[in-house]
Symmetry: C2
Subunit: 347 residues, 2 copies
DNA sequence: CCTTTGTCTGTAATCGTTTACTCATCGACC
DNA sequence: GGTCGATGAGTAAACGATTACAGACAAAGG
């Protein structure tokens, strides 16, 4: 039926038309586009004028096909929903835009299979580099990235084969835990994101556990409440952890969003923070400082990770090949949801 | 100097190699890729096997060049920082991914010139459709979109020439205001995002103003505190509005982020909400329900806008041309930051 | 004055697909 | 049994840029 749908003719102005109007070769036009210094001012001026007159816009597909450079980078993040990765993506995008690169964004929904599919799609689109979150990816994904520069973020492992820009999640929660132990806490609970397929989440749990063992304390499995990121999960986490006997005096949350929920639940239940329970978040999202009381949390260098990831890929595609992972430090920000453990008898 | 940088040879497996191995023509290979029903099972099987064996991946640039379909959509949003647009982008991306489309994301930083530049970049990259926020764009941008489908979001204007998916910002704050007037409030303040070049923000201010005038009340210029989105701005807003005499009993915020700041400041200053001041936000972000007290706010259909915008563009590129804007309704969610105006003498 | 060197332009091949055409085959129908 | 249509496969020409390569020319050096 609708036979002539594709019959659109005018595909826009081409470089050839510019060349004709400027009375020069296509090569010259291409050169003023990509290498303006190496063309005489005379020709350059004519070409630029022709471009303006015609409203010329380069065809990205043709450029990419011929030059092997799409000027597009890609990123696969778990989700955009909770602003957790938004800051990183924002910084990444900004830095890329500064180098005339665009950013393709895809989400994995915390599913490694979907992550691989999405990454594959991005590679097919011709991204020159790929940013990933975490370093626990399907082997197929790594194989796919054989010829494509990539960098893992939100993670740093010195011994990893894969380039990364990030921090050590395990050490971060280790540090949080030591801090809390120093305040006299000995009964811990944790509200964590789902750890399956999420190395950041499981490393954070592992960090708490490792630190506690150092002090002959422990984090039994039932003291870890594991749910998808959301404020509600944080609330439920507190409700659940209070059912334990003895119930924890310190709750470490895998994320500020969970911590916000936890704090809201404490308030609703009339539990005093930090007098009865100390609460720690992770990420230092914008709101953390404005909660009541202000949230003690581990600040992660989200914007810097985004910028550094961009730099990493940009240098990679411009030929610098001996690049190393970059190790960033998170930063414990002690505010007022943490305090000395309550006296044992006050339990 | 570095002359042989580009000497990378292997560009990967091409369709021609697949054709050779499957012992058929490139046309057939292309057909099993794009139109599998119209090729005999025999050939199809051979081609699919060859693809698997060789690890073939289509070259997006070549496809796009020849077929005029990049399978990429673009979006330019003000920012990713405050999660305001994240929900919409998330839904958009998901819906697009379901149709094998990828999403290029760029940010304007609330700057119309930058918005146009970024949009131009996306169009050069060959996006088949473009999502924008608001409908106040540079004329050059609209001209650029002459041949590219696009849709404005977060805005709905029946009389507009431009397709949009969204709601009426003016009417939304009109409604909020009427609600507050109904509670007996007559002194209003507003904490708004920067209105310059931001039609959503200025429409929201206009809506408040229009409603008040209906009731012979007014919103004098000095009662509008206008700052970039941030929690801090919300806090400052309250501090500022309290210096007015008489100071407002009802404060409408252009956004939940501002409202959160406002609420935090009230708490810090010992101002009782809603007894002394009623506070209303906008967006119904996840945290709104979990503030203390829970925030009264205008819920906007962010996810639905994203999905509908995707649908709009997808149908547009698949030939359906007589598409109309879609009008969504925001929804006032009354929680507990709003209450009856304090008695005049208690001022 | 001739050669050498360097700089700038133009010609034309090429990137990896899709697709308009052509041709062959086969079944159905008259 | 011949013709017509439909269907499927192959050939080769695009798509719009970039870039080896070669040629032209000028400046510099002997």
């Amino acid at each position: 039926m609708s036979k002539r749908l594709q019959t659109k003719v005018g595909r826009g102005i081409t470089l050839l038309q510019v060349a004709r109007r400027a009375e020069c070769s296509t090569a010259s036009v291409s050169r003023v586009l990509n290498d303006p210094e190496h063309v005489t001012p005379d020709i350059r001026a004519r070409v630029e004028e022709a471009m303006r007159d015609l409203g010329y816009m380069p065809n990205g597909a043709a450029r990419a096909l011929r030059s092997l450079r799409s000027r597009i980078m890609g990123i696969v993040i778990p989700t955009l929903n909770h602003a957790i990765y938004a800051g990183m993506v924002e910084a990444l995008q900004q830095r890329l835009a500064g180098s005339e690169y665009s950013l393709l964004v895809a989400t994995s929904e915390y599913d490694l299979t979907r992550e691989e599919q999405q990454a594959r799609l991005l590679v097919e689109r011709g991204v020159e580099g790929l940013v990933l979150v975490g370093d626990n990816h399907r082997p197929e994904l790594y194989r796919l990235l054989d010829r494509t520069p990539y960098v893992n973020t939100y993670v740093y492992k010195a011994d990893s084969d894969h380039p990364c820009v990030g921090f050590d999640n395990r050490r971060a929660t280790f540090e949080i835990t030591e801090f809390l132990v120093g305040l006299g806490h000995c009964r811990f609970g944790m509200i964590s994101a789902v750890t399956a397929g999420n190395d950041r989440a499981s490393d954070r749990v592992a960090g708490v556990r490792a630190a506690l063992e150092t002090y002959n304390l422990s984090l039994p499995p039932e003291a870890v409440y594991e749910r998808p990121y959301s404020i509600l999960s944080g609330r439920e986490g507190v409700r659940y952890l209070r059912t334990l006997t003895p119930s924890p005096t310190a709750i470490i949350c895998g994320n500020d969003v969970l911590a916000m929920g936890a704090l809201a639940e404490c308030r609703a239940a009339g539990i005093s923070v930090p007098d009865e329970i100390s609460l720690v978040g992770f990420d230092n999202l914008e709101f953390a400082a404005h909660l009541d009381p202000p949230l003690t949390t581990m600040e992660v260098p989200a914007a810097e990770m985004g910028a550094r990831a961009a730099d990493f890929l940009l240098s990679q595609v411009s030929g610098k090949l001996d690049l190393h992972s970059v190790h960033l430090e998170p930063n414990l920000i002690v505010r007022r949801t943490t305090g000395r453990a309550p006296l044992p008898d006050s339990r």
